[in-house]
């Protein structure tokens, strides 16, 4: 059973490859997958100019705020956000209830393409994430008592000596 599930996952692919496909097919500069809590999960394309951790936190906050705005005007949520800049633009779309995809692109003429590819890759990502179970995988590798012991030691080292 486990073997079947694992082979299914490998056939479906991984989020990074899906994002890389999006970058190539849409001509985007960067694509990120983040959680609604603002955690950066995966990335593709050029990220050298970005603080991806801070960006993920800010975009998640922005998306949450927009969700409240949607509710105020009688919508469940806005599934896409678009920010147009001078030379860079951001397209944000929901992938699942808990994740969203962020695409940074430079040529605004390509917005149609970005939107189309984001929708296509978004469905694929949703399928990949549906089959993924990070907790089960981590459970096989992490001994919780040991993890706690090491972590508590590190915490004491980092915070006590100051």
């Amino acid at each position: 059973m486990e073997t079947t599930e694992l082979s299914e996952i490998s056939e479906i692919g991984n989020p990074r490859d899906a994002l890389a496909t999006l970058v190539t097919s849409s001509g985007a500069k960067t694509a990120l997958l983040i959680t609604k809590e603002g955690i950066h999960l995966e990335e593709a394309g050029d990220t050298s100019y970005l603080n991806t951790t801070a960006l993920a936190a800010l975009i998640a906050g922005m998306f949450s705020a927009t969700r409240e705005v949607a509710r105020i005007v009688g919508e469940q949520q806005f599934s896409i956000l678009l920010q147009q800049g001078e030379s860079r633009h951001i397209h944000i779309s929901l992938v699942t209830d808990a994740t969203m995809m962020v695409v940074v692109f430079e040529d605004y003429q390509r917005i149609g393409r970005v939107r189309h590819e984001a929708r296509k890759v978004g469905s694929r990502l949703a399928e990949i994430l549906h089959h993924r179970n990070d907790r089960d995988q981590a459970r096989k590798e992490i001994s919780v008592p040991q993890f706690k012991e090491y972590a508590l030691n590190l915490i004491d080292q980092i915070f006590t000596k100051r």
Binding site: E37, A54, A65, A138, K148, Y150, A151
Partner: protein
């Protein structure tokens, strides 16, 4: 529940500094950020108004290091304290693994502290969080003020037994690192996969 990314071998926890406006939440974060070695901290994001009041949140990632092959990080957030930002506060609390409640020890701020704590409890309740099990540290800040609120006031008001309590003067850094030590330890002690 922390976020585990198996592919990247990362475990992310979320800590939120909560409390009434001007109680010292951002001051706590700024001090921690300043005191940490560069390899333990990421860039700090501050979203404030011209009057230096937090508008949406302040944030920085605190890296613990690699444990059992996984990179462990605490994402540190503050909420805006002003009454009218309740919706923002509720959103920021979503997914929190632990909270530091920063009490303003000025006696005239007691009603604000109580109101803010009540709002926090209500918001955490909407996320189905069991307050009995939830890692929470109560930090009585501004202990250098005149006639500070006695320790035990908030605990008595909300029937909090055995909750970790610290005293601090965040503007001087006193008690700030002890608070974050207790908060992170509390979260780790509750860690499950």
């Amino acid at each position: 529940m922390p976020h585990i990314n198996y592919d990247n071998k990362e475990i992310n926890f979320k800590i939120v500094y909560y409390g009434p406006g001007m109680s010292g939440k951002t001051t706590n974060l700024v001090h921690i950020h300043k005191m940490l070695q560069p390899d333990h901290r990421g860039e700090m994001v501050v979203l404030d108004t011209d009057e230096e009041r937090t508008l949406f949140f302040d944030f920085f990632p605190l890296s613990l290091g690699r444990i059992e092959g996984f990179f462990v990080r605490f994402n540190m957030y503050t909420v805006p304290g002003q009454i009218y930002y309740e919706a923002s506060r509720r959103l920021i609390l979503e997914g929190a693994d632990g909270v530091v409640f920063v009490v303003d020890s000025n006696p005239h701020r007691l009603p604000d502290n109580i109101m803010s704590y009540g709002m926090m409890q209500d918001s955490l309740g909407t996320y189905d969080i069991d307050m009995q099990q939830f890692p929470l540290v109560l930090q009585y800040n501004k202990r250098d003020c005149q006639n500070p609120i006695p320790i035990g006031t908030i605990e008595k008001e909300f029937k909090l037994d055995g909750i970790p309590v610290t005293e601090s003067i965040a503007t001087q850094g006193a008690g700030v690192m002890e608070t974050i030590r207790l908060a992170t330890s509390g979260i780790i002690n509750q860690f499950k996969i």
